[in-house]
């Protein structure tokens, strides 16, 4: 009796072991969810959204799509409704227009305050700032939905490779290329190639 029980247990264990060999969680589904990234009404937004979209699709194979919005509020609303996965936001603008809170002058403190507020109250994650600042809008950084980052565990690490990669002069140069006639997608791709990010 004991031997039969032992054999059954052994067979079950072997079965589980065999299953576990193949039943590994896929990194990304076979067509997968398309990641939607917002470009909210400016050349700068177009370039950064395309940089994120290209980086993600080139490095992971995930399909990405850039969705256009008239302004930051519209993009933020779409993010809240889960119609979007990632936006590019600005610290001072987020603090005053989205969170409706008083301004904070110091840049690192502002970033931390906005990041914590978004995380606790909006389920949104501020990733590493790109490295440049707009005088009125503040520091620019990608902001992603928490559940998107859960579904794509490598995403934050990948996007953070863009952290501190675009200073004020670089941003101005990239915008200049678009004004000179290149598309934002071309400019973003060239930037990523130049920096060996793709």
């Amino acid at each position: 009796m004991k031997i039969i029980r032992f054999s059954r247990t052994l067979a079950l264990l072997c079965g589980f072991a065999l299953l576990s060999l193949f039943a590994v969680a896929p990194a990304l589904a076979c067509v997968g969810k398309t990641l939607h990234i917002a470009a909210a009404g400016s050349v700068q937004q177009e370039i950064l959204a395309n940089a994120l979209a290209t980086l993600i699709s080139e490095r992971t194979g995930t399909t990405t799509k850039v969705d256009r919005f008239s302004d930051a509020q519209a993009a933020h609303d779409a993010l809240g409704k889960a119609d979007l996965d990632i936006i590019v936001a600005y610290t001072a603008q987020a603090r005053s227009e989205i969170l409706k809170k008083p301004a904070i002058a110091e840049s690192p403190a502002l970033y931390e305050a906005v990041r914590d507020d978004y995380n606790q109250n909006l389920n949104l994650v501020w990733l590493a700032p790109f490295g440049f600042s707009d005088v009125k809008l503040g520091q620019a950084a990608p902001v992603a939905r928490k559940d998107t980052l859960k579904k794509f565990p490598a995403l934050a690490r990948l996007i953070n490779k863009l952290g501190d990669s675009i200073d004020d002069a670089t941003m101005a140069k990239l915008e200049g290329r678009v004004k000179a006639g290149k598309t934002a997608a071309e400019v973003a791709r060239a930037f990523l190639k130049e920096n060996k990010l793709i």
Binding site: F22, C30, G61
Partner: protein
């Protein structure tokens, strides 16, 4: 009496002419088989033209045989708006798509202005048996995706897709195919699977071979011609292990020039290394 004879002769003549005309007139082509969401649970054979608007699923008990020269056309539908067509052929049972060199089997878009990702894919998922030979797969998201099964993909052409041939967790043979003008010629994740990929023309793709993740160097690429627009081999973000591609033609025999066509550890230190030992000095010449 004589008049009767002439009349008989005339009648025979008319009959002969009519019969001949019938023979000469082209017989009307059979109407294409139109399929929406369809489940195949037993043996089915397709020939001629088949138009698919939805998902055709070959269940475990099903066996789909496709005759040489057949044209399988997928309509461009995108209900979820993700930019990828929804029509697909999904196989859990048996798929035997064996054309001939003279009469390949075409899997394509039904659109007048076809473009990549008009339809989703031929998807082999835990398929019981899968043999693809002398097929052409074009304008799909993936020409073919193969997961969790044993399969062979031979003497075929994959063009104008996002992924030409894509596989993971398989035991696969991919040989003598022409894989060109796709975003990724071959895209794979080993995940403890293995494969033999040889004597293929993997040319004019943006990326020749995209090693996405979890590959432990158990898929042997040998005697292929791999010449791509951006990179011949690219490692995905999570491919930390090294991979080896021996005895292939890379579009050049210069080591530095070959290195320039590879995206690996040299570009991102978190990635593995791509090794290309014994590169062929010239293109691999097929004997057939």
């Amino acid at each position: 009496m004589k008049r009767m004879k002439w009349m008989k002769l005339a009648l025979v003549g008319v009959l002969l002419v009519l019969t001949g005309a019938c023979r000469l007139a082209p017989s009307p082509l059979p109407a294409p088989l139109q399929l929406g969401d369809t489940v195949i649970s037993d043996a089915v054979t397709w020939s001629g033209e088949v138009r698919i608007r939805g998902t055709v699923t070959v269940k475990k008990t099903g066996a789909l045989t496709i005759r040489p020269g057949s044209r399988i056309l997928f309509e461009r539908i995108d209900d979820d708006g993700d930019g990828i067509g929804d029509a697909e052929l999904y196989v859990e049972g048996t798929l035997l798509a064996q054309g001939t060199a003279a009469e390949p089997i075409l899997f394509s878009s039904a659109a007048d202005d076809p473009r990549p990702a008009d339809w989703k894919f031929i998807y082999l998922d835990y398929a019981r048996k899968a043999e693809l030979r002398h097929i052409i797969a074009e304008y799909a998201y993936s020409g073919v995706q193969i997961h969790f099964c044993k399969a062979s993909v031979l003497d075929s052409e994959f063009r104008y897709n996002v992924d030409g041939v894509r596989f993971s967790t398989v035991n696969i043979e991919v040989a003598r195919n022409r894989i060109h003008h796709n975003t990724h010629g071959i895209r794979y994740e080993e995940r403890r699977g293995s494969g033999s990929v040889y004597q293929n023309e993997i040319v004019d793709n943006e990326i020749g071979i995209f090693v996405v993740t979890r590959s432990d160097d158990r898929t042997l690429f040998r005697d292929n011609n791999i010449v791509s627009r951006q990179y011949n081999v690219k490692l995905g973000l999570d491919q930390a292990g090294d991979v080896t591609f021996p005895h292939n033609w890379w579009g050049t025999s210069e080591t530095a020039a070959i290195r320039a066509t590879i995206y690996d550890h040299a570009a991102d230190a978190t990635l593995g290394k791509v090794r290309t030992p014994e590169p062929l000095p010239t293109q691999y010449k097929h004997s057939h």
